[in-house]
Amino acid sequence: SQTIHQWPATLVQPVGSPLSLECTVEGTSNPNLYWYRQAAGRGLQLLFYSVGIGQISSEVPQNLSASRPQDRQFILSSKKLLLSDSGFYLCAWSVLAEGTSYNEQFFGPGTRLTVL
């Protein structure tokens, strides 16, 4: 069965510090991978998505970046955090089911980031 891991679960960082959040998926190959951010009490904002190693699409221009060094590893980074980067970060994966045109997403447990 497939599983998705995110770490750390919670993180408190000062403004201006770097960030690295990691997401890994097990039990599937060549998944699409996604990073979302959810501000308190708000919906999900798609930040990045990747359809393959080294292929990253950015949805929102900001001080965050993403990388996919391996097939089932997705990393969200920042060189200098801003206060507005606080939020709940969710990683998700999906696989296009063969013979279909739809993909269901499976989410990790999330990382709660507080920037002080």
Partner: protein, 110 residues
């Protein structure tokens, strides 16, 4: 950018009643999905309806899709306390992008 807009933003109903949430979107889609999120947790996929489908059922869930109106509804019948959560619609697109709405916070009163 967000595509789906859920309505209402918040809903409180008595246990046992039916809960209806609506979602509207702007551009053409491949499919529409509904997810549930318990407070502080990740999202759980509930149901997916393809663009060529009009209605779908899963247990106590019923989803409708009207592509001419660019809208969908999620009906939860015979609500339970455990249904208290936020519910999000998400539109699936040809480029594998999935875009979420802002969600409806559902509270089931005992």
């Amino acid at each position: 950018s967000q595509q789906g807009e859920e309505d209402p933003q918040a809903l409180s109903i008595q246990e046992g009643e039916n809960a209806t949430m609506n979602c509207s979107y702007k551009t053409s889609i491949n499919n529409l999905q509904w997810y549930r999120q318990n407070s502080g947790r990740g999202l759980v996929h509930l149901i997916l309806i393809r663009s060529n489908e009009r209605e779908k059922h899963s247990g106590r869930l019923r989803v409708t899709l009207d592509t001419s109106k660019k809208s969908s509804s999620l009906l939860i019948t015979a609500s339970r306390a455990a249904d208290t959560a936020s519910y999000f619609c998400a539109t699936g697109h040809r480029d594998d992008k999935i875009i979420f709405g802002k969600g409806t916070r559902l509270h089931i009163l005992p």
